[in-house]
Amino acid sequence: MAPRFDLPTPDEETAPFWAGVNEDRLLIKHCNACGANHFYPRPFCPTCWSTDVEWCAASGRATLYTWSVVYNNDLPPFNERLPYVAALVDLEEGPRMMTNVVDCPFDELAAEMPLEVVYEQVSDDPFVKLPRFRPARG
């Protein structure tokens, strides 16, 4: 298999996130002690340090914080997808995450625009989906 750079390499702490994505769920960590949500996932709450944290499903609704249309990336498979939109989105639950925005003309991208998650399969073996975002519908 040709080397590719788009597949996550989960570890024990992050495997549930990627397993969730493969089942069309966007999981973030929620603290049962103080109520804060956080990302990237940690085994403790970065706000109050409680270890009483659990995975919970995010709504998949987000707003666009910022983005870049990437025209230059030599790494496979991105080099075959140019140009594409790398983006930072603010999830409805609070955390900010890196992703891609898809199904949106570049000139219609705008900060604060409402988005919704889509789960796009990028690899058959291993089976891998990635959480991307498109303009919210309805």
């Binding site: 080397p3 788009d6 570890d11 990237y40 910022t66 870049s68 230059n72 790494l75 900010r96 891609n100």
Partner: protein, 397 residues
């Protein structure tokens, strides 16, 4: 006496600089080191400390020309203190460490250096050869921080900083024409620097015509990989009688890191860690931004320099676009002459240390064709982007 006032910069040195020199990187490093030692009027016997960034070898290729131990052995130095490493407040964090070691009494004359051979190491492979994982590495891993950015095709500082620039454009109405003045200014100054890599004239139209790498950043917003070494000597103020020339004085430094130390999770991604490092630096001096007569500030990407302009208070937060309009304020005869050697954008990615080198050169009045006619008395040298920032405020003796 405050700690900074116990320290001076007594000499600087720089090797040959080129796009691809194909020379031994240790040799380039030593050229810079020996020049700095001689510039200070010292010998290797006087040097009792080393501070360097980022430490020896490793990835990406060409990122480090030599580590502290290699230089210690090559010059047979007898050291009371030494340090080399990448996890610190930017590249110039090494020099600030040296100041602290001198003030603490562990060393009297600290050799500080940074060398690169990214130009030669990348060869014809360009930037792809230095991407995470490297194009020649068998098993790319998107783990750790990279696990959250690499799957989305954001593998390096270019798209990360592009996204920050886009946010700044959104919040403050900053335009490509305004950002581009940093690149145009750098090229204009590079034409006066005999070691600069790109010296052909560049207009703002040339800038706007350059291809987009990661919007809104264009090719000319990105610095140019090169080969070369830069060095300086941090000395104790009590040694001034032993020095060849009146040294540059360290007035204040800033190293703070607040908020989430990351490229994507910082609380305000229209700025970076320099926001807090600059506040700290100004808290340690009675001087004000209006006292500064020359600013040498990191431009790995032009937008980083824009953030430094705001962070240092040369303009207000969000006002850098208007400040840069037309380029007059940052020109050689402007409000705050910026990157008088051409920066990394046009004079090569010597990675942080060249800004401190140039600030000292300008304060000494040794800039030759590029010497500011104002003969500045106060300057700043700043380096780092994203979660790394270190800055020194310097004064002429």
């Amino acid at each position: 006496m405050k700690a900074e006032h116990q320290t001076v910069i007594s000499g600087v040195g720089q090797s040959d600089v080129g796009r691809r020199l194909f020379r031994d990187p240790l040799e380039l490093t030593l050229d810079a080191c020996v020049e700095a030692i001689h510039d200070a009027g010292l010998t290797t016997k006087d040097i009792d400390g080393i501070a360097t960034y980022p430490g020896p070898g490793g990835e990406p290729p060409g990122f480090s020309g030599a580590g502290a131990v290699e230089v210690q052995d090559a010059l047979r130095l007898e050291l009371g203190w030494w340090s080399g490493g990448i996890e610190r407040p930017g590249q110039l964090g090494a020099v600030i460490d040296a100041c602290m070691a001198v003030a603490f009494g562990l060393a009297t004359h600290v050799l500080c250096f940074r060398s690169v051979f990214e130009g030669s190491a990348q060869g014809g492979g360009g930037r792809a050869a230095v991407m995470p994982g490297g194009s020649n590495r068998a098993a790319p891993r998107a783990s750790g921080f990279m696990e959250w950015v690499l799957p989305y095709g954001a593998p390096s500082a270019a798209p990360w900083i592009a996204m920050m620039a886009q946010r700044h454009f959104h919040e403050y109405g900053t335009t490509p024409e305004q950002l581009g003045q940093i690149a145009v200014n750098a090229r204009r100054n590079a034409a006066l620097n005999p070691k600069a890599i790109y010296t052909d004239p560049m207009t703002i139209d040339d800038y706007l015509a350059s291809r987009v790498i990661a919007s809104p950043l264009r090719l000319f917003d990105c610095d140019v990989p090169c080969d070369g070494g830069t060095a300086m000597i941090v000395s104790h103020v009590d040694t001034i009688p032993d020095l060849r020339k009146p040294p540059v004085r360290v007035e204040a430094v800033g190293t703070a890191l607040r908020g989430r130390p990351s490229w994507d999770q910082f609380d305000d991604l229209s700025t970076m860690a320099m926001r807090d490092a600059a506040v700290q630096m100004w808290s340690r001096t009675d001087l004000k931004p209006s006292d500064v007569q020359v600013a040498e500030m990191y431009d790995g990407f032009s937008f980083i320099t824009l953030c430094w302009l705001e962070a240092m208070g040369f303009c207000g937060k969000g006002e850098a676009g208007a400040f840069l309009e037309g380029g007059h304020n940052i020109a050689r005869d402007g409000v705050i002459p910026l990157n008088t050697h051409g920066g990394q954008l046009s004079s090569g990615r010597l990675h942080g240390f060249s800004f401190l080198h140039e600030a000292c050169v300008q304060l000494w009045g040794e800039g030759g064709d590029r010497q500011l006619t104002s003969n500045p008395q106060v300057g700043v040298a700043a380096a780092g982007g994203g979660p790394m920032a270190g800055v020194l405020l310097l004064t002429k003796s």
